[in-house]
Amino acid sequence: MAENKGQEIQKQETQLQQGTEPTREGRLFMPPTDIRETNDSIVLTADMPGVKPDGVDVTLEKDVLTVCGAVADEHLGNHNGDGYAEYEVGNYQRSFALSDEIDRDKIDARMDNGVLTLTLPKTTPSQKRIEVKAG
C-alpha cells in the first residue's frame, strides 16, 4: 500500500502491454484523466502539461482509443536532474475502451494549456430514463 501512495503523489507511468516497446526515448506517463458524462456525449479531459497541440496524437483502433502526447522539446531540455525535482518530464500515453454508444466519426479533440479535451458524442443522444415507482 505504501507503493500505491507513492504513485498517487508521483506521476504514474504508463504500463505498456507485454512485448511492446516505446518508440521514443524518455519516460512514458499516464495522464491523469477525468471522464464526465453529459446528456449527449462523454467528455474526457487529460492533463498533459508540456505538450503542444501539434504534439498530440489521438488514434482509434477497433474499440480502443489511444491518446499520445509528445512533450515539447523546450520543456524537455530543462530537466537534467540537477537541483531539486518533484516531477520528471516525459511523454504521455493512455488507452480507453469505447462502448458501442459512441459515434466514432464525430469525436472531437481540443488541446488547451496542456489539457486535452476529447468529446465523444453518443449515437443516441439523451438516454431514456425509466421512472421507478414505489408500491
Binding site: 500500500m1 491523469p32 508540456g50
Partner: protein, 184 residues
C-alpha cells in the same frame, strides 16, 4: 478499543483542514465493485488515510518548513515543482495544466519565491456526472526558498502549454556567494 475506534478518535482530535493543503478530488465509486480485492483496497486506503490525517502531511514533507506550514519546498504538494540552479539564475518550473497566465501569480520576496493560483473547473457542482476523477483542481500556494540574493526586477515568468517557468536571476552578490574551493 478496536482499530476503528482509534481511527475515529484520532480524526476527532485533528482540525479538518489542518495543513491547509488543496484537497484532491477523487471519485472512487468506479472501483467499488464489492469484490474481495476491492474491499481489501478500501481497507488499505482507510489505513493510509488514517496515518495521513494523523500526521497531516506525508513522509519527508516540511523538512525545511515550520510545523504545519503549507506548501513549502520538500512538500510534495500540488502543483509539483522543479528547481534548478545555474551560476547566474534559479529556474523554477511547475506543472500547471489547464491554467493560463492570468490564473497564476508569482511573487518574489527577499529569500523566497511564491507561486499562487487557482484552477477552477465546473466539476464541483456536477460531481455525480463523473465516472473518473484524477486531475487536481482548486487553489494552491507554494513557496520555494532562495538561498542567495536575487534580482527581483529581473524575474521572468512564462506560462505555456500548462508549464510554468520562472527564471530568477541572481544579483552580483548572490553570484559571488558561491565560492569555488580548490581541491588539492
Amino acid at each position: 478499543m478496536t482499530v476503528k475506534d482509534l481511527t475515529q478518535k484520532a480524526k476527532e482530535l485533528i482540525p479538518w483542514n489542518w495543513g491547509k493543503r488543496p484537497v484532491r478530488v477523487q471519485d472512487n465509486r468506479s472501483r467499488r465493485d464489492g469484490s474481495l480485492p476491492a474491499l481489501r483496497d478500501d481497507f488499505h486506503r482507510l489505513f493510509d488515510d488514517m496515518f495521513e490525517d494523523f500526521l497531516g502531511r506525508r513522509f519527508g514533507e516540511g523538512l525545511l518548513a515550520p510545523f504545519g506550514e503549507p506548501g513549502s519546498l520538500l512538500d510534495t504538494g500540488w502543483p509539483r515543482v522543479d528547481l534548478e540552479e545555474t551560476d547566474d539564475a534559479f529556474k523554477v518550473t511547475a506543472e500547471v495544466p489547464g491554467m493560463e497566465a492570468d490564473d497564476v501569480e508569482v511573487t518574489v520576496g527577499d529569500s523566497s519565491l511564491t507561486i499562487r493560483g487557482s484552477k477552477t473547473t465546473e466539476r464541483e457542482e456536477k460531481k455525480k456526472d463523473y465516472h473518473l476523477m484524477e486531475t487536481y483542481s482548486g487553489s494552491f500556494h507554494r513557496t520555494v526558498p532562495l538561498p542567495v540574493e536575487v534580482n527581483a526586477d529581473g524575474v521572468e515568468a512564462h506560462c505555456k502549454n500548462g508549464q510554468l517557468t520562472v527564471t530568477v536571476p541572481k544579483t552580483e552578490a548572490g553570484r559571488k556567494a558561491a565560492k569555488r574551493i580548490e581541491v588539492k
